[in-house]
């Protein structure tokens, strides 16, 4: 006789659950996360269209359902009903595989992001994270770079030069900014002393948010996250003016739709990472009662609300930036990544490591004072970046001039040419 009691043994709500409860809980969490995530992605596309409309003094889609909220469903139906086309000479298997490959990594990352304080149930304590990996942080770094495979394969298999160029740009961009991104998160690890994302959240609730302790790293991470998700101003892989939508030129119907879906999925994931690593994760600001046990359902709900509002803010920020900034030139993108962000983060890692070591040796405990000292350092560094580095040096402007030696070189070349022309050669 199999009864639920057999599986769901009553346990201490604050204690670890039994294996069966753990498995059931994980499955429930997976389904819940997947549902919330997919609905979130759908409504992010809607939010993008509405917010862009408001920014541009338009109305946006407001016809399907009240205020247009059913537009998402209409778009989905339209995309599924449309004809799928396959270009001649396309590598069909890869062509079909690529849209999935773009989308899946964005979703896998969610497995390790903690989205609330542990939930006590009659059968034991359930952590509000699908998989509390001890290497959670490294996992996100590894998975987030896989997303580019889908884009590159889509570009390659389309048998279209613009698509291929888009794919190449995507991979070059991903490689360049992955490094700066990794370096900026090294600082987080220096403070947390652990690569579990739950530990990162716990560290921030003690010392203050990393956005204040590691402002420069947060800044670099934000820029890199934009580049990683191929969002404006870094959306060169799909630059419509040069590449005719880049890697997804040849795609149609739902397969095309998978690319925007993946883009928004990546955007939500990057927002969640940003919130977790630098903005306290599910920590409710200015309070301490939510950070420690005994866990209650109210705490779980409130902390989830805090986490969701942080993620929503960053999604809004992504949209906001997109409708404010124009796209970079390709050389600007590359020089920003390699010549500025990478050295900047390397120097910053050294500064942070030195500061942490000095504070530890001075006997300062990890707490508000420790955070305050780091914050003071960051205020100075951000001042340097904003008022000294940001003088026409962060991004080389569109009309930047040659320096004197370059002008001389060009003149000598033209002089030689004219001499040769006169000799009649």
């Amino acid at each position: 006789m199999i009864t639920p009691d057999l599986f769901l043994q009553v346990a201490n709500p604050q204690g670890d659950p039994s294996l069966v409860v753990f498995v059931i809980g994980t499955v429930v969490k997976m389904v819940a996360i997947f549902t919330i995530y997919m609905v979130g992605v759908a409504y992010t596309t809607f939010a993008e269209r509405r917010v862009s409309a408001w920014i541009q003094d338009r109305h946006g889609p407001n016809r399907v359902g009240p205020q247009g909220i059913l537009q998402v469903a209409a778009d989905g139906i339209k995309n599924i009903m449309k004809e799928e086309t396959y270009p001649n000479f396309a590598s069909k298997a890869i062509f079909i595989l690529a849209p999935g490959l773009v989308f899946v990594p964005a979703m896998i990352t969610w497995a390790v992001i903690p989205f609330g304080s542990p939930l006590p149930t009659p059968w034991g304590r359930i952590d509000l994270v699908v998989a509390d990996l001890p290497v959670g942080f490294l996992f996100t770094l590894a998975i987030s770079s896989i997303g580019v495979y889908g884009i590159v394969l889509a570009g390659w298999s389309s048998n279209n030069k613009y698509a291929l160029l888009g794919g190449l740009r995507a991979s070059a961009q991903m490689v360049s900014y992955e490094i700066a991104m990794g370096m900026s998160t090294v600082c987080v690890l220096l403070l947390a002393g652990n690569v579990s994302l739950n530990q990162v959240v716990a560290q921030q609730s003690q010392m203050g948010w990393n956005a204040f302790l590691l402002t420069v790293a947060a800044f670099v991470f934000l820029i890199s996250a934009f580049a990683e998700t191929n969002r404006v101003p870094f959306d060169l892989p799909e630059a419509e003016s040069e590449l005719i939508a880049g890697y997804h030129t040849e795609y149609s119907a739902m397969k095309f739709s998978m690319f925007p879906i993946a883009e928004y999925a990546n955007m939500i994931t990057a927002s969640a990472l940003m919130a977790t690593l630098f903005f306290g994760g599910w920590d409710i600001p200015f309070t301490q009662w939510d950070n420690a046990g005994p866990w209650t359902v109210l705490k779980s709900v409130l902390t989830f609300g805090a986490f969701a509002s942080k993620v929503l803010f960053f999604i809004f920020f992504y949209i906001w930036i997109r409708w404010t900034l124009p796209r970079f030139r390709y050389d600007q993108l590359m020089s920003l990544g390699w010549k500025l962000l990478l050295p900047m983060t390397l120097i910053y890692v050294v500064i942070v490591a030195t500061a942490v070591l000095a504070l530890d040796m001075a006997g300062v405990t990890r707490g508000p004072l420790f955070g305050g000292a780091l914050f003071a350092i960051n205020v100075v560094l951000m001042g340097v970046i904003l008022f000294i580095l940001d003088r026409g040096r962060l991004i080389s402007p569109a009309h930047s001039r040659l320096d004197a030696s370059g002008v001389d070189q060009l003149r000598s070349v033209s002089r030689d040419r004219i001499k040769l022309a006169r000799k009649g050669t």
């Binding site: 338009r58 930036i321 404010t324 900034l325 003088r391 962060l394």
Partner: protein, 165 residues
Amino acid sequence: MTIKVKVMERPIEDVSYVRATVKGLGLTFKHLIDPHKVTVQYPDERWDISPRWRGTHRMLTTEDGKAKCVACGLCPTVCPANCIKLVPGEDEEGNRYPLVFEIDEFRCIFCGYCQEVCPEEAIHMGRHYENSEYTRDAFVYDLKRLTEQQHPVCEMWDPEDEKGA
């Protein structure tokens, strides 16, 4: 011969990216919370069109429902686009009436000369703009179609416009 390119010193201290971005974000946010929407929500709201608006034609009728047209032939004569086809007829009492009166709305250039020239004030330009049809043939309006139209007609000049244009 040297290339005479004037090399300007860049005003580096005025150039920034991050601060300019923040400024731009401020501007877009201002529009986000205080949009100056000018879009007319078309099926729900409509423009008030001018009394001088010249849309597709309408033939006015007498009290007994017949077209006012006496088939004088002035409108096909004056029509610069040659879009009016008129075949005149005459009844037992000697009254002329149009046997065929067709206007090809695709050829029409909506100049309004037909309305101006009409001695009987029969043919009028319409004050409306929703003209969709399912076939091209349907855009050749015959007399029945022209008399059945119900929309207001063009006034050719705006009484409130002092220039009288």
